[in-house]
């Protein structure tokens, strides 16, 4: 029960940090104005066009595809693997399990391997391509390792140590409803949970903030219509005008 308590409290703290941290960053991005119209052109000339452009960036990494095909392949493997794995996890949070979540359970192993392969590839790139090694700090390697071992320990739980999944679900539901129930304590589950808590805590203060942050990128989310529509932000209007004007 002691271990259960530690992890339960850990999840509460991590959840608060994650939500508050991301909210604070997003609020800061939203509040910071973009005084000039700076989309990278050619850019859409309508709002709808911008939504489509952003959707292409989010779902198919359009610019990265133009930029570097290997990073694109590895990035897609990793992110889609992670997305599917994450969605699969919904079954531990919902009771009864939603139909579409049950239907996608079979994808778990493929998603897990895609994620591991993508992350391993990205790590290798970072170590062996001199340009990428040059721009990497320790945290860049550690984040990849963290995600790798989250996926790895998760797969160990399922395929090696055969962690008691029913108990895991009860623990998670218990944390969610504040009626704790004991969690399994084999090594993979301890590692998996520790790393996930770490990830949640560093998410808002690390480069992982790119996930919400990219929606605020002015070169991608601004409409190319400066001649038709005058764009003026508050700090520009509120400046004391220089005397010769």
């Amino acid at each position: 029960m002691f271990i259960t308590g530690i992890f339960a409290v850990g999840f509460y703290i991590a959840t608060i940090i994650l939500i508050v941290g991301v909210a604070m960053k997003v609020m800061r991005y939203a509040r910071t104005p973009s005084p000039l119209v700076i989309p990278t052109t050619p850019a859409p000339t309508t709002r709808g066009g911008v939504v489509l452009r952003m959707a292409r960036e989010v779902f198919v990494f359009e610019s990265l595809f133009k930029g570097n095909i290997w990073t694109w392949v590895l990035g897609i493997l990793f992110h889609y693997g992670m997305l599917i794995a994450l969605l699969r996890h919904l079954r531990y949070f919902t009771d009864p399990v939603w139909g579409w979540v049950s239907l996608m359970q079979w994808m778990g192993i493929y998603a897990g391997f895609a994620m591991l392969a993508g992350l391993a590839g990205l790590f290798i790139r970072r170590v062996f391509v001199d340009r990428i090694r040059y721009i990497s700090s320790p945290s860049d390697y550690l984040i990849l390792a963290l995600l790798f071992f989250i996926a790895f320990s998760g797969m160990m739980m399922k395929y090696v140590s055969h962690t008691d999944i029913i108990a895991v679900k009860e623990f998670i539901r218990g944390v969610m409803t504040f009626h704790w129930s004991p969690m399994p304590t084999d090594i993979p589950v301890l590692i998996h949970f520790t790393l996930v808590i770490t990830l949640m805590i560093i998410f808002p203060i690390s480069k992982m903030i790119h996930a919400p942050g990219m929606f605020f990128s002015p070169t991608r989310n601004m409409v190319d219509n400066p001649r038709e529509k005058r764009h003026v932000v508050r700090w520009v209007e509120e400046r004391s005008q220089s005397p010769d004007q």
Binding site: R28, Y29, T32, P33, S34, P35, L36, V37, I38, T40, T41, P42, A43, P44, T45, E57, S63, L64, K66, G67, N68, T71, G75, R126, V129, D130, R131, I132, Y134, I135, S136, S137, P138, S139, D140, L142, I202, I205, K207, I209, H210, G213, M214, F216, S217, P218, T219, R220, D224, P226, R227, K229, R230, H231, V232, V236, R239, S242, D244, Q245
Partner: protein, 513 residues
Amino acid sequence: MAKADYEIPGLSQYVPVPKLEPGKMEHSSPFIAKPEHNADLGFPGELVDDWHDKAIDKMGDLLKKYRSLQVFMDICVKCGACTDKCHYMLGTADPKNMPVARQDLMRSVYRRYFTWPGKHFPKLVGARDLTRDVLDEWYSYYHQCSECRRCSVYCPYGIDTAEITMAGREILAHVGMGQKYSNEIIGKVYKIGNNLGLPGPALENTLEGLAEDIEDETGIAVAMPMDKVGSEVLLITPSADFFAEPHVDGLMGYAKVFHEAGIDWTVSSYASEAANFGLFIGNYDNMEKIAKRIRKASIDLKVRRIVHGECGHAWRVAYSFWNTLAGPFDYLDSNYPVPQHICELTYDLLQAGKIKLDPSQNDDKVLTFHDSCNVARGSRMGDKPGGQFDIPRALIKAACNNYVDMARDTINEHTFCCGGGGGLLTDDLMELRVKGAMPRMQALNEVVESDKVTHVAAICAICKTQFAKTLPYYNMGMDMIISVHHLVGDALIMSDVPEDKEEEDEDEARAQD
């Protein structure tokens, strides 16, 4: 071939991604501005004693004012997609010319002073204190970026290193480390009206001389007026168009088009400059002040339209920023876009059949087109995205029968900067300019060899000057570079050519046969 005491990159079949050579360009720095040049722009004359605190304060200020800076500082994942996209990196092999590394010069300081992990675990996240060495490094490498935005095309989040460079220069200027070239020029705009310091009377003389040249050539008296109140069009064009080669032939081309279309136009002696170096130094107030001169000129001269000559960064400022900086332009004729690019104007006239071109006039040439970075990635022409690529090409093709494009990954949005943009077109950065020109020269050289291209057309004053200067370093002739409106002007069929002139021309043609 032009000589240099540094290694000029060789041209090969493709642009190889060089092996990194750390420190290769750390000696490259432009001259620092003199105190009076800084003062003209409202900056401290020389490095202030409390530069450290001032710089950090300014960074904090910019982080609140520019979403681009705040978001870009945070969201780079160091994926490396941009690392081989910068022409300065490709030409110099210096790792700090990789776009992400250039951003990191500032990001490392941002993390140290503005983020929790950077304050507590600097080594872990690559954070560092702002020292005098760091400041000098900023000065050096933020003047090895032409603010061309090529990196932003390939970044999964559109991180535009130009925004970081501008912020870097803005911070440097605020602690007294302005750049001589840009600041001196902005001062000239305020005092005299243009970058070159060409005063009104001299400008008027020049225009008269050019009109005479056109008359000698065509037999037609084409007006080239200055400060003519009540004209329909105010032409705002880079001052290099008034006398530099090959720019001036472009200006004569505009004049012919205006004449043939019966458009009454003028230039202004007060705002005789399209260039807006306020963009280069990243300073909003100066950019606004320069833009407002144009607004004032258009009101004083009671014009109904503003047309913009061939200039790259200036077109970005005009197209993307003027409405913000100096608008609204509701006092101008709303039937035309404000501002309108000379290429748009000529293209529309051509579409409407109001002017005609005879492409056989340029049969002695094989053309290619260099997309200028600020036009390609920071603006538009026409109604459709990508008009900035199609419209100039349509003009060239209408004016010339032989046209080929350079390699696909070096044109349109992928275009390589000429190597001289962003306030770097100064002799004290010659080594950087020559090396940075390499990727563009490589693509050009390829079509010279494969398709016998004789000329490269451009629509940017900086590109034209930079090409003329760097082509010889790569064994190509400096006169290969040509203005789009030079081609247009030569091909334009002038309807009111006097008869004796026509005969004379025919005689000449016969004599040549």
